[in-house]
């Protein structure tokens, strides 16, 4: 077991690898009365096709999320469900493009909750009857997200930016997608991806490290999971150009929502680490488009926007920058932003000031155990390791590098989506 210290904040995590290859991260703290434990698999909706042996398997969109519902099927596993209730714990799960996470939040008997969580994860029973039943629930979830206009527009925009990428599908899929999901297709994914070398466990709370590791070792010894080869994700080759450059969505909205997106090849930027690149791009975009920018002030004073914000995504081999606007007249906004985005720049004082925002956010992540769990989980999924030196990484962000990154920005591939009446 290795103790790792997070820079600046006097916080640490113990890392341990179980014999079967599962990585365990123990965040031991006395500040919380409750505990938060999770087991995650590095499998999400970004896997649309994979190779296992000589077989190519196409994944039905929405499968990762559907599988999450069927693994966390507490109403079908009365014994586990009853015991979780008896302990007063709350069990939940989530799926994104890169990860599926199962978690329990509780206050009584961490060790037993951990065993229950492992039982949920490993004792699955997915059959056609329960899969069909779940389709009604997930169908309502899909409809709920579709009514969230920003979520819907982002999904449409990603669909337009790419020809073949995984982001063309939403994490939850469409009703038409989930119709074709079967118990067989879900079991296959479970067997291929829910394997030790693709799984990690995070435990946050006040506990005895040795006791937890012994519990995990005992459980895993009984389970006797064998290491398996992780299937190879098949990534479709993508064109640099956008698939659809312009889309209007008809809505009965008084004001207009516009998203102006730029697709830039990842190779334009020298920095290899996606997280560091996102820091730089975040600082650059905030300096140019957030409320502290001169451009935001100008757009407000000239009634060009009601509100404006920016987003960065790194999707496989591309960086996506999105300028998001809520405005009265989309044409006026688009005329202006299409010129102003090419004038992106940054001053040294802006650069140093924006770094402070990231420092604050890093420090405050340790104020509650759910945030700590999320930070660890996200690091592992994004970088395959926890970054204990994030504070110094932020301090060391370099102004000259930011200027280099600005040179790598190209504005040839644009996709626009907006609402119309």
């Amino acid at each position: 077991m290795e103790k790792k210290e997070f820079a600046k904040v006097n916080e640490s995590v113990y890392e341990y690898k179980l014999n079967n290859g599962i990585d365990v991260y123990l965040y031991n703290t006395q500040k919380a009365k409750n505990f938060y434990i999770s087991i995650s698999v590095k499998y999400g909706a970004n896997i649309t096709k994979y190779k296992k042996g000589n077989n190519i398997i196409n994944v039905i969109p929405g499968s990762a999320h559907f599988l999450e519902h069927k693994v966390m099927a507490l109403s079908e596993n009365k014994q586990i469900s009853k015991r979780i209730d008896e302990l007063g714990s709350l069990a939940n799960a989530w799926t994104n493009y890169r990860c599926t996470n199962y978690n329990i939040f509780g206050s009584i008997n961490l060790k037993e909750n951990l065993i229950l969580l492992l039982d949920i994860f490993y004792n699955i029973n997915i059959n056609d009857k329960t899969v069909e039943k779940e389709k009604g629930i997930i169908g309502e979830e899909i409809d709920m997200y579709k009514d969230q206009i920003n979520y819907y527009m982002f999904n449409q925009l990603f669909n337009n930016l790419f020809e073949k990428s995984y982001v063309k599908n939403t994490v939850v899929g469409e009703r038409s997608d989930i119709k074709s999901i079967t118990a067989k297709s879900l079991n296959q994914i479970y067997n291929d991806y829910y394997i030790p070398n693709n799984t990690f466990i995070i435990i946050c709370g006040n506990f005895d490290n040795e006791e937890i590791i012994n519990t995990l070792n005992d459980y895993m010894n009984k389970l006797n999971l064998k290491k398996k080869e992780l299937p190879k994700r098949i990534k479709e080759k993508e064109k640099d150009t956008v698939s659809i450059a312009y889309q209007e969505i008809k809505k009965e909205f008084e004001d207009v929502r516009v998203k102006y997106a730029v697709k830039i090849p990842r190779k334009n930027f020298k920095i290899k680490n996606d997280t560091i690149l996102k820091y730089y791009l975040g600082i650059i975009l905030r300096s140019n488009f957030s409320t502290s920018s001169k451009l935001y002030e100008k757009y407000k004073n000239e009634n060009i926007v009601i509100d404006m914000s920016s987003y960065i995504y790194i999707i496989d081999d591309y960086v996506i920058i999105i300028i998001n606007s809520f405005c009265k007249d989309s044409n006026v906004f688009l005329d202006n932003i299409s010129k102003d985005i090419k004038k992106i720049n940054i001053s040294l004082s802006d650069f140093e000031r924006k770094k402070k925002l990231y420092l604050r956010s890093y420090i405050l992540n340790f104020d509650n155990i759910e945030d700590v769990e999320y930070v660890i989980c996200d690091s592992i999924v994004m970088d395959n390791k926890v970054n204990y030196n994030e504070y110094n990484d932020i301090l060391n962000l370099d102004y000259k590098m930011a200027q280099e990154i600005i040179k790598g920005l190209s504005f040839d591939n644009i996709s626009i989506i907006k609402t119309i009446k």
Partner: protein
């Protein structure tokens, strides 16, 4: 954790000293009796104050200063709590031990500048920004319809709480905004700070006692009233059940069902209803979750919540419009089943354990702790451990008995007509 209450010049300071968090929080609450004509004024006021000040006389200058102070955040909000309206200014900044000692004073100076040094000349708010904010508010009001959950909740409250402050949305009607201009807004602002409101200031974090003096020196130009308010509304619900369906072009329909809580005792209102609501709609295997979602696949989201100050219980669900009748029938049966001893007994102990987990979370929740001390100034409340003890003493009989005091009042659906 150490708590001290300090009163000074009619200000009430709540000092919550703890090293549990890496940030320091300070919230100033201004509390007065609800007056519906205040709604447009308060909205315009809180947005004008946070948009620019005398010293930082543009949006970008304010934003730059807050970034310079390590992303300090100062948010203002307007809420209706029972019979009162509350304006709050909430300041959050990093504990200076992670930055530099000077940031404590700089952060408090920033608070004073934004709240007490508005961008006013000739007794009127800056007209240019006033108009920008007015237009922003109109857009905000119009966009409520774009969010089905919010729109449905507002419409439901109008029906359910008709005739009481809870029926009002904190956003004004567009036409009411015309009653506000740059001059009368400044008069409203000055009046607000002159014997009109109770002023509570809660400070939570790793701070010394002298912070109270530091804050007081910065805010003492405010003149709080010493007239005390209470939040509780004695609302007489109509006996007739109100049912209304509106339709808009959404994919999913939002269903709200309101039950009135009749003549609850203090114990029922504070403890028994907490257990009742957990069994019915908030725990893992709540009755609503199991029956409506898991057994009948009628929804993804379903749950319930209680309003203490306007005693009521609300059940919400996102459903398909075609399942309206079936869902209502099942929800009514779920509520009826709260009189069934076996149903309640099966979940009773688990519900208490779940409540205990939620109560533990109080110690990790800055907002909950601050709010609790604020509410305690206006209503009888218990410290969290007393609340835990009294909730743990609730019996199955009390939960079943409480079901006799619940009656259906309102059914509202915002039909997704896409």
């Amino acid at each position: 954790m150490e708590y001290k209450k300090i009163t000074k010049d009619n200000f009430t300071y709540h000092l919550i000293k703890t090293d549990r968090f890496k940030e320091i929080n300070m919230v100033m609450y201004l509390t007065k009796e609800f007056n519906k004509s205040d709604i447009p004024f308060i909205n315009m006021l809180i947005h004008n104050l946070s948009y620019s000040s005398k010293k930082y006389n543009s949006k970008d200058k304010i934003a730059c200063i807050s970034e310079d102070l390590y992303g300090l955040s100062l948010t203002s909000s307007f809420t209706l709590t029972g019979s009162c309206e509350t304006i709050s200014f909430s300041l959050e900044f990093l504990n200076p031990k992670y930055t530099e000692e000077k940031y404590l004073d700089l952060s408090l100076d920033y608070f004073k500048e934004i709240v007490l040094n508005p961008n006013v000349s000739n007794n009127r708010f800056n007209p240019e920004y006033f108009n920008i904010i007015k237009n922003d508010l109109i857009s905000m009001i119009n966009s409520v319809k774009d969010n089905p959950s919010k729109f449905a909740s507002i419409n439901y409250s109008k029906l359910m709480y008709d005739g009481t402050p809870s029926a009002y949305n904190t956003l004004p009607n567009i036409e009411d905004l015309d009653s506000v201009n740059e001059e009368n807004l400044y008069s409203f602002y000055k009046n607000l700070f002159n014997n009109k409101c109770n002023v509570d200031i809660c400070i939570l974090g790793e701070v010394d006692d002298d912070i109270v003096e530091k804050i007081h020196n910065r805010v003492k130009t405010i003149k709080p009233t010493n007239k005390k308010h209470t939040f509780t509304i004695n609302h007489k619900y109509k006996n007739k059940v109100i049912e209304q369906i509106d339709a808009l072009k959404y994919n999913q329909s939002k269903l709200y069902i309101g039950y009135r809580l009749n003549d609850l005792t203090y114990h029922e209102k504070m403890h028994v209803i907490r257990v009742y609501n957990t069994i019915l709609g908030t725990m893992n295997n709540s009755i609503l979750f199991n029956v409506v979602r898991e057994e009948n696949s009628l929804c993804y989201s379903i749950g319930s919540y209680v309003s203490i100050y306007n005693p009521s219980l609300t059940i919400y669900a996102g459903i398909n419009k075609d399942n309206y009748d079936k869902t209502i029938e099942l929800i009514k049966k779920c509520v009826e089943s709260m009189s069934d001893r076996k149903v309640v007994s099966d979940l009773f102990n688990y519900a208490k354990k779940t409540i205990n987990t939620f109560l533990n979370n109080y110690y990790d929740d800055i907002v909950a702790q601050i709010h609790n001390y604020y509410v305690g100034e206006y209503e009888k409340i218990e410290d969290i451990e007393t609340l835990r003890e009294n909730t743990n003493n609730v019996t199955v009989d009390e939960v079943i008995e409480l079901n006799k005091k619940i009656s259906l009042s309102t059914i509202y659906m915002l039909k997704g007509d896409n």
